[in-house]
C-alpha cells in the first residue's frame, strides 16, 4: 500500500521544512572531482561568443530521434521527441550547444560568414574547453547536448580529427550520455566518418544549394561528390549497423538518430520544385530524418548573391517547411505540391489549402466515414485531429460542435467537409468564397500589397505569378534579370 500514491500530499498535516543545509550534510559529492568547482578559463567567454556567432546560421538544432535512458556512472539521457531548453529572441528553439570547433577557414565560399577572405575575429576551442563547457551547461539543464560543427582548419581530415578528439573526451572521460550532433565535413576520409558515427547520435552534411550550379558559383572549393559521399557512407553505416544489432544486441550504435541536411533558400534562383524534389529524394534514397531550410540571410555583398539589404525570405522558408511536413506526415508527394506548370509555391496561401483549391472535385469529405488518409488531406485537420476523429467516431457519430472539441479548425475545414451529410450552415462552396475564407489574418499581414476582400479565385494565377514568380528578393526569388542570366544553368539539380 502506498507505493502507487506518488502524490504524497497531505500537505495540510505533514508539512515539514527542509533546508539547504540538510541536503548538503548528507549528499554524496559528485564523483568527478575534475568538474567540481572548477572555474572556466578567462578567455572562454570571448571564444564562446565568436564561435556561437559563427555557428548560428546553421538551422538544424533538434535533439530528436533517439531514446536512451540514463546509466549509473554517466551523465545524461536522450528523449526521442527532443527537448527545447530555451528560445532565442528570433523565436528559434535552443536545444543544443551550437558552436563551431573553430571559425578559421581555408575555404572562401562566397555566401559564408566564415570565408577566409572576410575580416572577422577568429577563435578555436580546445577539446577540453569544449567538453568542460558542454558538461557544465548540461548539468544545469541549459542544453540537451552538443551540436558541433567547424570551419575547415588546414584540411577536412585534420578538422574532423579535432572534432573527434572533443567528442571522444566527452563520451569516454566525462562519461557524457546526452545528445551529440556533429557535422561531417565534406571531403573527409571514410574511416574518420566511421569513427565519428560511433560517437555521435546524429550526423549531418549540408548540401546548401539544391543545384550543382549554385555550388560551383558560390562554393567552388566544395564538390557535390564530396558532399554526397559522406552522406551515402552514413546511410550504409546505419544500414549495416541495423543488421548488426539484430545479430549482436550490444553492437555499438552508429548514428542512432539518423542524418539530416540543410538547404539554403533564396541565395540562388532554384525553384521550390527543385528544392522539394531534392528533399523527397533525400528522404527516400538517403533515409534522411530531416531536411532543414535556411532562409538566406545576406551577410556578404557579392554580385552573385542577393543584395545585402534584402531581408531573409522567411515566408518562403515557412511555406517550404509546411510542404516538408506534408511530405513527411500527410502522405503528399513533391509533385502534388509543385509541378512543371507551377514550379514555385503560392506564398499567399499554405500548400495544403492550395492543393485543396486545385482539387475541389475531391471534396467535400464526410468526416464520419472518410479514411484517415482522406481526412489528412482536409485543410484544418491535422495529424492529431485526424487521429482523434477516427477514435471519437467509434463512440458515436460526429457533429460540427464535436469536431470543434477535437481541435479541428472549422474556419478552414468547413469548406471541405460534411457532418452526417450536412454542410455547415451558410457556407457556399465556390472557389472565390473559399479562398477568402482560407486566408488567415497572418497570411494577409505577410503579404505586402494584398488585401483579402479584393482577392478572388481568378486572381490566384495572377498572384501566383506575382508571388511565386520572380518579383523581389524579399520573397527569396531572385530578380527577373538575374534569373534570365542563369537560365538553363540551373536545370540540373544535384545528382543523388
Amino acid at each position: 500500500m502506498g507505493r502507487f500514491f506518488f502524490y504524497p500530499v497531505s500537505a495540510f498535516t505533514r508539512t515539514y521544512v527542509l533546508y539547504y543545509t540538510d541536503i548538503k550534510r548528507t549528499h554524496v559529492l559528485y564523483n568527478s572531482g575534475r568538474l567540481q568547482g572548477r572555474e572556466p578559463a578567462v578567455d572562454i567567454l570571448e571564444k564562446l561568443e565568436i564561435l556561437t556567432d559563427a555557428a548560428k546560421y546553421d538551422v538544424a538544432c533538434t535533439s530528436s530521434g533517439v531514446d536512451r535512458s540514463g546509466r549509473q556512472g554517466k551523465t545524461g539521457s536522450a528523449v526521442a521527441c527532443g527537448i527545447c531548453h530555451s528560445f532565442a529572441a528570433d523565436g528559434r528553439c535552443i536545444s543544443l550547444l551550437k558552436v563551431l570547433m573553430t571559425n578559421q577557414c581555408v575555404y572562401d565560399c562566397k555566401y559564408c560568414v566564415n570565408r577566409s577572405s572576410r575580416e572577422t575575429p577568429r577563435a578555436a576551442f580546445t577539446p577540453h574547453e569544449l567538453a568542460d563547457l558542454t558538461m557544465n551547461f548540461y548539468r544545469r539543464n541549459f542544453i540537451e547536448g552538443l551540436f558541433l560543427s567547424s570551419a575547415v582548419m588546414k584540411n577536412p581530415d585534420y578538422t574532423t580529427e579535432r572534432m573527434i578528439q572533443s567528442i571522444e573526451l566527452l563520451r569516454n572521460e566525462y562519461r557524457f550520455n546526452g545528445y551529440i550532433h556533429v557535422k561531417a565535413i565534406p571531403g573527409t576520409d571514410n574511416a574518420l566518418i566511421q569513427r565519428m558515427g560511433l560517437l555521435a547520435d546524429r550526423m549531418s552534411v549540408n548540401i546548401e544549394f539544391p543545384s550543382e550550379m549554385g555550388l560551383e558559383k558560390l562554393a567552388p572549393q566544395k564538390k557535390p561528390e564530396a558532399i554526397m559521399r559522406p552522406m551515402g557512407l552514413i546511410r550504409s553505416g546505419i544500414e549495416e549497423n541495423t543488421s548488426d544489432l539484430v545479430l549482436y544486441r550490444h553492437a555499438p550504435k552508429f548514428v542512432p538518430a539518423g542524418q539530416s541536411t540543410q538547404l539554403i533558400v533564396g541565395a540562388t534562383p532554384d525553384s521550390d520544385r527543385k528544392i522539394l524534389t531534392l528533399s523527397e529524394g533525400l528522404y527516400d534514397k538517403y533515409k534522411l530524418k530531416r531536411v532543414f531550410f535556411s532562409a538566406y540571410n545576406p551577410v556578404v555583398s557579392d554580385p552573385l548573391l542577393p543584395s545585402i539589404l534584402s531581408a531573409p525570405p522567411l515566408l518562403r522558408e515557412h511555406r517550404l517547411y509546411q510542404a516538408d511536413w506534408l511530405m513527411r506526415f500527410y502522405g503528399f508527394s513533391a509533385n502534388e505540391i509543385v509541378d512543371d506548370k507551377n514550379p514555385n509555391m503560392n506564398l499567399a496561401i499554405d500548400p495544403k489549402c492550395s492543393w485543396a483549391l486545385r482539387h475541389l472535385e475531391q471534396f467535400p469529405v464526410e468526416v464520419n466515414r472518410a479514411s484517415y488518409q482522406r481526412l489528412l488531406r482536409v485543410p484544418g485537420i491535422g495529424v492529431q485531429s485526424a487521429r482523434r476523429i477516427v477514435q471519437a467516431r467509434r463512440a458515436g457519430s460526429l457533429d460540427f460542435e464535436g469536431l470543434r472539441k477535437l481541435g479541428v479548425v472549422l474556419k478552414r475545414a468547413k469548406f471541405f467537409i460534411t457532418c452526417q451529410g450536412k454542410v455547415t450552415e451558410g457556407v457556399i462552396i465556390q472557389p472565390d468564397t473559399v479562398l477568402r475564407g482560407l486566408l488567415s489574418k497572418n497570411d494577409l499581414k505577410m503579404l505586402p500589397a494584398a488585401s483579402g476582400d479584393q482577392m478572388s479565385f481568378t486572381d490566384l494565377p495572377e498572384m501566383a505569378r506575382v508571388m511565386g514568380g520572380v518579383p523581389t528578393s524579399a520573397f527569396g526569388y531572385l530578380p527577373e534579370e538575374r534569373t534570365n542570366e542563369y537560365a538553363g544553368q540551373y536545370e540540373f539539380g544535384i545528382h543523388i
Binding site: T15, P40, R140, K405
Partner: protein, 248 residues
C-alpha cells in the same frame, strides 16, 4: 442511484481521500453534486457529507479502475488529479462513472463534455511538464543542484523520473513554490516531499561564470534579422522566465 442535487462531499485533499469519496458514493447509492476540500466554496443549501479517508477503501477503488476500465485509466485518473482544472474532483468522479459504464471505450467519447474537459486538462498538464523538462534551470551550490519552479499544475511527479534518470549520480532538488513541494534526488534514491520554505546560500564564482557564459550563448545564437519576440513568447510563455537563468 439517488441523484441528490444538494449533496456535497468534503475530503482531505489527497488522492486517497478522493478515491474514498467514490467508494462512499457507491456504498450509499448517491451521486454528489460536488466534491470539495475543507474550506472550499460550498453553497448555502448544501447537504454536507464528510468523507473519512480509509486506505482500504481507496485501494479497492484504485484497483477497480484497472479491472473495469483499463490500466491506462489508472494513470489517467492520477494525472487528472494533478491538474489545475477547476472542480477537478467532481469531473474525475463523473469520468470514472462513465468509465465503469463504458469500459475502456470511455476514452473514445472525446466529444462528451466531461471527457473533453478532462483530456484537455491532462494534455495541459503533460505539456507543462514537457516544457519544464527543458525550462528547469539548476544552480549549483557546492555540488548540489537546486532549481525553483512555479507551475500551474502539479508537475513534479512527472518530472522526477526524467531528471533522476538524466543525473543518476548527482544530488539535486527541484522546488515547486506554488504547491510547496519538492523532489530531492540523491544517488541512493528519489523522494517527493512537501516543503514550505527553501533558503539558499549565495552562489560562488564558478557558478557565476557559467551563468554568464550561458547568457552570452543564449543572446548570441539569435539571428538579428529574424528577431521575433512574439514567436519566442508563444513557445516559452513569460511566466517561466522568472526562474530561468538567461533572463535573471
Amino acid at each position: 442511484m439517488l441523484d441528490n442535487t444538494n449533496l456535497v462531499y468534503i475530503y482531505d485533499g489527497t488522492l486517497e481521500g478522493f478515491l474514498c469519496c467514490v467508494y462512499e458514493s457507491y456504498a450509499r447509492s448517491e451521486i454528489p453534486q460536488d466534491i470539495c476540500t475543507e474550506g472550499g466554496q460550498i453553497g448555502l443549501f448544501a447537504e454536507v457529507q464528510w468523507v473519512r479517508t480509509d486506505m482500504g477503501h481507496a485501494q479497492k477503488v484504485y484497483e477497480s479502475i484497472d479491472r473495469k476500465i483499463c490500466l491506462e485509466a489508472q494513470d489517467f485518473v492520477k494525472n487528472a488529479f494533478l491538474t489545475c482544472m477547476e472542480n477537478k474532483e467532481i469531473l474525475i468522479y463523473r469520468f470514472m462513472r462513465q468509465g465503469y459504464k463504458y469500459g475502456r471505450a470511455v476514452f473514445d467519447r472525446l466529444t462528451d463534455d466531461t471527457v473533453d474537459r478532462i483530456t484537455k486538462a491532462v494534455r495541459n498538464l503533460q505539456r507543462e511538464a514537457g516544457n519544464l523538462k527543458g525550462f528547469v534551470r539548476f544552480t549549483v551550490y557546492d555540488g548540489v543542484m537546486v532549481s525553483c519552479i512555479a507551475p500551474k499544475n502539479i508537475v513534479l511527479p512527472l518530472l522526477s523520473d526524467h531528471f533522476a534518470d538524466r543525473y543518476p549520480d548527482e544530488t539535486f532538488l527541484i522546488y515547486d513554490r506554488i504547491h510547496q513541494m519538492a523532489v530531492v534526488h540523491k544517488p541512493e534514491g528519489t523522494l517527493l516531499t512537501s516543503m514550505s520554505k527553501l533558503t539558499l546560500p549565495p552562489i560562488d564564482d564558478a557558478e557565476k561564470a557559467y551563468q554568464t557564459l550561458w547568457k552570452c550563448f543564449q543572446h548570441t545564437v539569435a539571428i538579428e534579422e529574424r528577431y521575433n519576440p512574439k514567436c519566442q513568447m508563444n513557445h516559452m510563455p513569460k511566466r517561466f522566465w522568472t526562474d530561468m537563468t538567461e533572463f535573471a
